[in-house]
């Protein structure tokens, strides 16, 4: 069994330590974290003033201003809190393709993001799509949990079919709270991805969809007369490879990716297409930072 350090190289760890997870939504953390929340609360960082209204905590009154202006004015501070970070990995058989396999890539990506979360004292939970509704994953918190987190990620094995909608539904049932969820999948579900993503919306999660596709899917290198067999449901498709066919495939792929992107954009989700040939470091440092998942 490969050691968990397979997932995170030391250099990647060093790079990741400088980052933190970000969310644009205002979530109520359960504990104090290291994160400056958009919520106003109790911390040392000043945020704003506002007039006192009846019922406000008298502890927040700025007594110096009251002395000077004879007005009750509240002094607001930025709240520092922790964040729920969920990584939802599609571990279906279809992810077990490519070099590195899409699953391996997804695991690396999840581990990297989880590592960032653990460093910043966020609550991190890593789950897969084919987990049952009752089967909960442990929640990791703090730097000390990195090793356990890596072990859990490493233990994920490809199995079963892609059932996006059911997996997401189960995930939402298990995790009713808000937070940042990163769905790492190839989205190749014959029943469509839309239902699945809508579950996230209903839970008001800050949702990142990272579609991992292998090079073979992006630019298939096939020739001749082929009978394509779906590795999950053994569905077959007979093709005779030709330039128009490949062109059509590219069009279809682009259309598919474009439709996911549009779907996500319309619903305030973040979408990122990841090629398994792009190193995880680059993806995290460049693309995810640009998308606003990390900072």
């Amino acid at each position: 069994m490969p050691t968990p350090s397979h997932l995170l190289s030391p250099s990647l760890c060093a790079q990741l330590e400088r980052l933190e997870l970000v969310t644009r939504k205002i979530f109520r953390g359960r504990m104090k974290g290291e994160r400056r929340s958009k919520r106003k609360g109790q911390s040392v960082e000043f945020a704003d003033f506002r007039n006192y209204v009846a019922g406000d905590d008298l502890r927040l009154l700025d007594w110096n201003l009251y002395a000077r202006l004879d007005k009750l004015i509240l002094k607001l501070f930025l709240e520092e809190e922790d964040l729920h970070f969920y990584a939802l990995i599609d571990s279906s058989l279809s992810m077990d393709f490519g070099n590195p396999t899409k699953l391996q890539y997804a695991k690396q990506l999840a581990a990297a993001l989880a590592f960032v979360g653990l460093i910043r004292a966020d609550r991190v939970r890593i789950e897969t799509l084919n987990q049952k509704a009752s089967e909960r994953s442990p929640i990791f918190r703090g730097r000390a949990s990195v090793w356990r987190m890596l072990q859990q990620v490493e233990a994920i094995r490809p199995s079963g079919e892609t059932q996006l909608a059911r997996g997401v539904k189960n995930f939402c049932l298990r995790n009713p709270g808000r937070g940042v969820v990163v769905l790492i999948s190839d989205l190749m579900d014959k029943e469509g991805y839309e239902t699945a993503l809508k579950y996230f919306l209903s839970h008001e999660m800050d949702c990142f969809v990272i579609q991992v596709l292998s090079q073979e899917e992006l630019e298939p290198d096939v020739k001749g007369d082929l009978r394509l067999v779906d590795c999950e449901d053994q569905n077959e498709a007979e093709i005779t490879v030709s330039v128009p066919l490949l062109r059509k495939y590219q069009q279809t792929l682009n259309g598919f990716v474009g439709s996911v992107q549009q779907f996500c954009a319309k619903r305030g989700m973040h979408y990122l297409l990841a090629n398994n040939q792009v190193p995880v470091e680059e993806l995290v440092a460049k693309h995810l930072r640009r998308r606003g998942l990390v900072r």
Partner: protein
């Protein structure tokens, strides 16, 4: 048989051919058991296929493009087997004779790519041979000086093609009639009993004898053939060459002593211009490969010019004359630009005249021309029995001995001419009647014999004569009312002539009288000149021979091996009979032939083309045919006129090579498409 396709296969083979496309179909669909390939998801692929199914017809076409290409390859190959072609000479008939001229003029390089006419002829015969079907048979005859059967009737095309390769150009003249007779012998084999055959035909209505197509590949440098019946032969004349071809040739080269100044040797060269334009040329004369002189000659169109060179009288050796045309003159036949002649120190012949005295005869034998040929020595008849005589007439000393009114005790080893006496030979004397006839009138004489060439004997008066009956093998030369008066008969390698009447006789009183008035006639000195030329004539005058001609030489008899060195330096052995006669036929090449006997050159002779017909290589154009400018003159064989077929247009253009190349290209295309997934 149509002209577009030629079937090359039998029904069985065609059945196999028809099975090929079916096999391709079968293999194609077997092959369509697609290779399985596991993919992460067929989600996108299904959508792709659904989209493409919209124009599924084209999709299906594309799918089976490889199948179409394979079928196309098979179709092209099958089409190639059908041997499509056009504009061909159709080989109608079952039996063919290809007459290929390989005479000197066929070496003219005026075919395409500067190939010779013979090469062109071979190509065209080969293209005809290619069209032969298995039921057809053909033979090849090459003809120049003599026709040669290169390949007898066969249906084996490879044998025919090999035979074609064996035909080599010669320097010889054309004997078309001989070739026709040879072809006739093969085509009409039962001609001798035509009558019997006719009867048989009438009797049981036998099928007509098989027609034989006779293809004549020649440039037509030969006269019309007369007195020839074609019989079953169906001639077709395929002329080769070009009517505008230019050629320059030396058509004569000889030497002689000057009439005025015998010390000088005149060398005369005649140059032929076979072009429709006037031309100039330089004639160079080499003696033993040393340039002696060169002379510019003006040549009128289609005319001749001549150059005369003067050499000192004691020159000897090999003369070579070369004609070099001016720049811009395209001399297409190089063969005839060189001519050879020999200058020998004349070995003057010796004639022994044994006579008691005959002024007329002596005068006739020492005329200027006769003296140039032979030296005449006299001998007295009373000394015939002495050893002196037998010593003098030893073998080879004299070319001719004339016995006038006398006869030797034994025949000498020489040609003899007896006047008024009979040779002391049983064969002559046994048949003669001792009587003499008085006043015989000459009624006929053998004008074709060289001895009586251009001799007029009519009105000759003869007092008395004895009849001369030649022995077996002899020939009567002069016939009179009473019987033969002169006869010739061979004896070993010599010839004996007996004239039954004396010129000068002795009457009863012992006085000399003229027995005939012949010495007063013009024919008398001419006759003796003929005698001297025939028996003692120097062979130097005949030292040039035509290529392919039989050369007969008389050599001193000896047991030494005789070899002949050909112009190219190779030596061939030659047979010589006990009398020293030698016949040699391998004279196809032009140049000097040297006869070696015992390691020494004993004789030389030159072989030259010297044939205006062969050297005038331009294709003859019909002068009467006004319809076409370039109508090649017809051949006339017997009473049949054989029109020339248009040159250049009658070679069948075969497509099969192109088709096979196309099939190969399609095959490569298919391979490329299969590997590179390039579809239309």
């Amino acid at each position: 048989m149509d002209t577009l396709f030629r079937n090359t296969l039998g029904p069985g083979a065609w059945a196999v051919m028809a099975a090929i496309p079916l096999a391709i179909f079968a293999l194609y669909f077997l092959k369509l058991k697609r290779q399985p390939l596991e993919v992460p998801s067929t989600y996108l692929w299904h959508r792709v296929i659904e989209d493409l199914h919209v124009n599924s017809f084209w999709q299906r076409l594309r799918k089976s493009l490889l199948l179409f290409l394979q079928l196309l390859v098979a179709a092209l190959a099958i089409l190639a087997l059908l041997r499509p072609g056009w504009q061909g000479e159709t080989l109608a008939g079952q039996r063919f004779i290809f007459l290929v001229d390989n005479s000197a003029s066929m070496s003219t390089t005026d075919a395409a790519n500067h190939d010779s006419r013979l090469d062109e002829a071979k190509k065209r015969v080969a293209s005809l041979v290619d069209q032969m079907e298995s039921s057809m048979s053909a033979m090849v005859i090459a003809f120049a000086e003599q026709p040669v059967v290169v390949q007898e009737f066969t249906s084996n095309r490879r044998l025919l093609r090999d035979a074609l390769e064996r035909i080599e150009p010669t320097s010889a003249q054309t004997d078309f009639a001989g070739a026709l007779r040879l072809a006739d012998g093969f085509a009409n084999p039962r001609r001798e009993n035509v009558e019997a055959e006719e009867e048989a035909e009438e009797a049981d209505d036998a099928p007509a004898p098989q027609q034989v197509e006779l293809f004549i590949f020649s440039d037509g440098r030969f006269p019309s053939v007369e007195n020839f019946s074609l019989g079953n032969l169906q001639p077709q004349f395929l002329p080769l060459g070009n009517s505008a071809t230019q050629n320059m040739a030396i058509s004569a080269l000889n030497s002689r002593r000057g009439e005025d100044n015998p010390e000088q040797l005149q060398v005369f060269a005649q140059v032929l211009n076979g072009s429709a334009d006037d031309a100039t040329a330089v004639v160079e004369l080499y003696l033993n490969e040393q340039l002696v002189d060169a002379m510019e000659v003006q040549l009128p169109a289609k005319g001749i010019g001549s150059a005369t060179f003067l050499l000192s009288g004691d020159s000897s050796g090999v003369l070579r004359a070369v004609v070099d045309p001016e720049d811009g003159y395209e001399d297409r036949l190089r063969l005839d630009n060189t001519a050879y002649a020999l200058l020998e120190n004349e070995r003057s012949s010796r004639v022994l005249l044994v006579t008691p005295g005959n002024s007329a005869l002596e005068a006739a034998l020492v005329t200027e021309r006769a003296a140039r040929i032979a030296k005449v020595e006299r001998f007295a008849p009373q000394d015939l029995a002495t050893p002196e005589f037998s010593r003098r007439v030893q073998d080879g000393n004299y070319d001719l001995i004339v016995f006038d009114q006398c006869a030797p005790p034994a025949m000498p080893a020489a040609n003899t001419f007896f006047i008024g006496r009979l040779p002391p030979l049983e064969s002559w004397t046994a048949r003669q009647s001792p009587d003499t006839v008085l006043g015989p009138q000459i009624i006929d004489w053998d004008r074709s014999h060289p001895l009586l060439n251009l001799i007029e004997l009519g009105g000759l008066q003869i007092a008395d004569a004895r009849l001369v009956k030649p022995p077996l093998g002899g020939r009567v030369l002069i016939d009179a009312t009473a019987g033969p008066l002169m006869a010739i008969a061979p004896r070993d390698r010599f010839q004996d002539v007996v004239m039954g009447f004396e010129i000068v006789g002795v009457n009863e009183q012992g006085q000399r009288t003229f027995n005939t008035d012949w010495p007063r006639k013009h024919s008398f000195p001419s006759f003796w000149l003929n005698i001297v030329e025939h028996f003692a004539g120097n062979e130097a005058s005949q030292q040039t021979h035509r290529p392919g001609e039989l050369v007969e030489l008389r050599l001193p008899p000896s047991n030494e091996r005789v070899q002949i060195e050909l112009p190219d330096g190779s030596r061939v052995p030659a047979e010589i009979d006990s009398a020293g006669q030698m016949a040699f036929q391998e004279t196809e090449r032009l140049g000097i032939y040297q006869v070696y006997q015992g390691g020494e050159v004993v004789r030389r002779f030159a072989v030259n083309l010297f044939d205006r017909e062969e050297s005038d290589v331009a294709l003859r154009v019909s002068e009467t045919g006004g319809d076409s400018l370039n109508a090649v003159e017809k051949l006339t064989i017997g009473y049949v006129e054989v029109a020339a077929r248009t040159p250049n247009a009658d070679i069948r253009k075969e497509l099969w090579k192109g088709l096979l190349v196309l099939a190969l290209v399609v095959l490569i295309l298919e391979w490329y498409i299969y590997n590179r997934r390039v579809y239309i």
